[in-house]
Amino acid sequence: MATTDHPPAGRQPAAIRSALTVLEQVARAGPGVTARELSAALGMSPATTYRLVNLLVAEEYLVRLPDLRGFALGRKVVELAGAVAHSAVPAGAADAVAELRSRVRLAVHLASLRHGRLRMLDPDPDHPPSPDAVLARHLHASALGKLLLADQPDWHALAPGAPAELRQLTPHTVGRPDALDRELDRVRGDRVARQFGELRTDRGCVAMPVRDPDGALVAGLAVSGSPDRIAALAPAVLRLVERCAHDLARLLHRTPA
């Protein structure tokens, strides 16, 4: 049974390119993206898309999620990504974050916001944040995600699915596109993003951007705790976070993460 459905000949660069595009799109859209969404996003015919995702699942580059509709990147991607997926935070930056943790007695998370993607670099070990996958899929509900969205010329490009589908995760989630527009304007003006019980009812969060000398968004530094504590945050604490974010801009500069 050594035959394959399609011989892996060098004659099919188009098929390979399509498969890689599907892989990229799953990475972009975040876990849970369905085959139909992939097909729509890539402009590929459904039949081709379904064949490709099933091929990628068979080779374990993709994983079909328990609802059987959604897909996520599989373990095999780690083998490809190698060290990049686990890139360590530069020692200096880690020290700066650790120092902030020792002083504010709140959960402190550092996340990369490069290339339009949210990825935790240094989550607080004592108070772990929501999983990356949840954050990446519901950018509108987290403070770090709002930083990322506010930095985009058009935030719709990053929101998976139709813009109307801002998922209402809690009663406090900003669910309407126009409300989110206003919220993102506020983030741009204050250079601070906040959320109060929008991702989980028992958590609030304040996030500040970390920008490189050219002003490009590199990362986000977030402190999180119960919503009322975050709402009543002392200005001194905010200044500490701001200074740390400022230091991080220098420390994270020119690292590939």
């Binding site: 139909r36 039949a47 099933n54 080779e59 328990p66 996520a72 990147l73 991607v77 935790m120 996958a133």
Partner: protein, 444 residues
Amino acid sequence: MMSATAMVTAMGAAAVPVIGLATLAMMLVGLAVAQFARRMAAAGSLYTYVSKGLGPTAGFLTGCALILAYGSLVVMCLLGSGRRVVGFLVEAGALHRPAGDAPALLVTALLGAAMTAIVVRGIRISAALTLLLEAGSVVAVLTALTVAAYRGTAAGPPPSALDLGVFAAALLTGIKALVGFESGCALSVEARKPFAVVPRVVLWTPAACGALFALAAVLHLVALARGGGADGSGPPLPVLPALVQLGLASSLFACAMASMNAVVRVLFSMGRERVTPPALGRTHARYRTPYVAAYAMVPLAVGVPLVMWALGTSTRRVSGWLGLLAVLAFLVAYLLVCLAAAPFLHRIGEATAGATGVAALAAAVTAGSLVLVVRAGLNDGLGWVVAALVGFLGLGLLWLLRVRRRAPHRLSAMGFFDAATPDDILPGASPDGLAPGAASRRAR
């Protein structure tokens, strides 16, 4: 493959296209099954697939049909194997031709015990043994047929006129040789790259078996055509019959073991979902095989031969009944899985016109085959076998009603399959729905 020679004897050269037709039908079913196998790994195979596509009632019916199908295949193959072992011993001169079936039944019971032990021991050893036995038997029988083709065989009675009845009987034989090709699905949970390997196996098994079957038929046709010519009238080789008997014995034993492995996993899945006694869902502490389900099959595998021995029924006749029952039950399960494919694809949002069309065609062909096989059974005066199947499925429905009344949640939980766990997914890319720390697919 020996039934191919019987088909040729019955209907001449028309046997080859009938074999082709049966192969085509089974490959169509294989396409429908592969739609599921590509998308989920489930020990319950078609039972789980249909549960996912058509809901719990149809799924449970499929499970019942599969249990009946694999169960009768196990018993039929064991009986056949026992008979062939005795045949081999007779041909080899180690045994006088026995008057009754007693030695064959004794061997059958021994083989049944050995098979159960191997199945409990684990899939590795039974798969390796199956492969070895099947390869050996294919070589043995093909050698014998090739030699026979070269030497020529005295022509049998002229083939009877080709009418629908003969066609139906031949189709029954053809399908009987191919059913069970989907048993690989039951092992998907234990396979290394299930979504790549299992669909391929499901598609290629009927094709390869059909080709072998057709080859056997052609070889026999050649043998008949050469007839008792000048070079074919030599004395028969004494080794050949013994070789064929041994080849058939090992092939049938392997077939019984493969069916046993499959039925045990279906029983296990149903036990796991507590729609049948939950004990069936228990696995062996050391070998991690569903051993309770395996032992549950023992009374059947060993008991039927014993009952027959007590009643004095001929094994050949019982094999005929069991064969018909197996084919009918398989066709019911296949029909349901073909019908389930389109709703399933639609539900997960991956339906295409092509896949739906193929599934519909497969369902139509399977339904047609079912009608023809029922007809063949009625022609042979075996209407009670059809009634037994319907009765068994009816009992299954009654049982399901009982479960529904007592524990309706169990029905909605049907269709358990091996979902991805955080361990399978890129670290940090698990969605919220997945419980961290759940047993990985590898660990189970």
